[in-house]
């Protein structure tokens, strides 16, 4: 269960005297569905919303908790419970060899080196990548890298996954593979997946969908209707089929 209690995020203005810049207006949400998609325009606050879940961003006011772990007070335990997957796997992978990177996630919890190696291989096997264990992360394809990053962020037994545009850099085939891994292979380990995406087909597979616009949740409900709401928001009331410039101007993006 993910809960936002009037959580908001603001950053100080660049010039003194200006009002603070609000990234997320006070938001209250209870998310218990298995798959939750977050869509919205660039700069709408999607990433801020996701980053709150792992303690990467602290709420300026209000509170965020995942399965009872507060994102500020219990941030260490929270990060052992919530894994966070970024768009670019290369900025996420630290060690040069696949299995060593997964081991890094286990360093704090598994002291014995041999047990750590075994646990890392298990984590790779969970996403079907045990055959890549000894490979250099630079030799992998983009899709393989993203799956390795996924294995790394879930290696310590995280039960909730937050993913910020995980498929943006992937081709169609790897995109499908990642979705299959998230929604199929990992179903047993991961109890909840929250993901932001610009891929509307991917978003439509969610059990619940949030459309974020201008720092607030503009739609909250079933996925297909949410995708339609987002189209109207982004392209204007005329819909996507029209394509007239006037339609673009009337949207709030």
């Amino acid at each position: 269960m993910i809960s936002f209690h009037a959580a908001s995020v603001a950053v100080p203005a660049a010039l003194p005297g200006d009002p603070d810049r609000v990234l997320l207006r006070p938001t209250t949400l209870e998310l218990s569905e298995r798959r939750i998609a977050v869509i919205g325009c660039n700069g709408s606050g999607k990433s801020t919303l996701l980053r709150l879940l792992n303690g990467l961003v602290r709420p300026t006011s209000g509170a965020v908790a995942v399965d009872g772990l507060d994102s500020v007070r219990d941030v260490r335990r929270l990060r052992g419970h919530v894994g966070f997957l970024f768009t670019d796997p290369l900025s996420q992978l630290v060690m040069p060899v696949v299995v060593e990177d997964v081991e890094l996630s286990l360093k704090a919890t598994v002291r014995d080196r041999r047990a750590r190696r075994a646990a890392a291989l298990d984590a790779l096997a969970a996403v079907g990548l045990e055959h890549l264990a000894e490979r250099s992360v630079h030799d992998l394809s983009g899709g393989e890298r993203q799956l390795v990053a996924l294995a790394s962020v879930l290696a310590a037994g995280q039960r909730v996954l937050v993913a910020d545009e995980p498929t943006t850099l992937l081709d169609l085939r790897n995109n499908a593979l990642l979705q299959r891994t998230l929604f199929g292979t990992l179903e047993g380990q991961v109890s909840q997946v929250v993901y932001a995406t610009h891929d509307l087909d991917f978003a439509a597979r969610a059990d619940r969908l949030l459309v974020v616009d201008n720092g607030a949740v503009a739609y909250d409900g079933a996925a297909p209707a949410g995708v339609e709401a987002y189209r109207r928001l982004a392209l204007g009331s005329v819909g996507s089929g029209d394509g007239s410039p006037a339609g673009f101007r009337s949207g709030s993006c």
């Binding site: 792992n54 303690g55 990467l56 941030v75 260490r76 990060r79 052992g80 894994g83 966070f84 970024f86 670019d88 290369l90 900025s91 996420q92 630290v94 060690m95 040069p96 060899v97 060593e100 081991e103 890094l104 996630s105 360093k107 704090a108 080196r113 000894e134 250099s136 992360v137 630079h138 030799d139 790394s152 962020v153 310590a156």
Partner: protein
């Protein structure tokens, strides 16, 4: 941003006696050979060290041996220049002693990198840095910082190539001063993302009561 394989050559996995040797033994051989090469500098010591490096590479396996000549392919002109200079100053024995010592030291140091997992190197570094604890530093953080530095070299090289390509695509020249700013910006952005990723994974999050 592009990724690049390491300059000095990535590890070649294997199970030879050299691969399995403990890290301290590898360092002992490296330090011992280095000391001997400096104290008894001469053509024969250099030659002996070169032969030793070849023997150890051969012991480490066929694939490692094949990697022996790797750096010579790109550095040969530098070594040739140095050898010519030394020959002129000190004769052939002097040239062999200087160039041979350099190549042998380089090869022995590379062997350590080629046959050791970076996780082991980082662990070893953390152990060696344990005395830092007395001045209030965290040896694990120190070792991780070194690992991050090693990994960032190819990332920075990739950023330089990307920026160079972008400049050429717009018909701009390759003025290194003009390219410096975007390279620094993209490097800082990369560092920021890496920091976020480390924080998100809880790496270095330790219970303060933990020994």
């Amino acid at each position: 941003m592009r990724g690049h394989a390491m300059l000095l050559g990535l590890r070649i996995p294997g199970s030879s006696p050299v691969h399995r040797a403990p890290l301290w033994a590898k360092y002992a051989v490296l330090a011992g050979a280095g000391t001997v090469l400096v104290l008894w500098r001469g053509p024969w010591t250099a030659l002996a060290a070169l032969v030793l490096s070849l023997l150890l590479y051969a012991l480490a396996g066929r694939r490692v041996l094949a990697a022996w000549a790797g750096p010579l392919r790109s550095l040969w002109w530098l070594l040739a220049l140095l050898a010519a200079h030394q020959w002129w100053l000190n004769g052939p024995a002097g040239a062999l002693s200087v160039v041979g010592t350099m190549v042998a030291s380089l090869q022995l140091a590379r062997l350590l990198l080629l046959t050791t997992a970076q996780a082991d190197l980082v662990d070893g570094l953390a152990r060696a840095a344990r005395p830092l604890r007395f001045v209030g530093a965290d040896p694990e953080a120190f070792a991780l910082a070194v690992a991050l530095m090693l990994r960032s070299i190819p990332a920075v090289v990739g950023a330089m190539q990307d920026v160079g390509d972008a400049a050429r695509a717009r018909g701009l020249g390759r003025n290194p001063v003009a390219l410096a700013a975007p390279v620094v910006v993209s490097t800082v952005a990369f560092a920021h993302q890496t920091g976020d990723a480390l924080a998100a994974r809880g790496i270095l999050d330790r219970d303060p009561r933990d020994p």
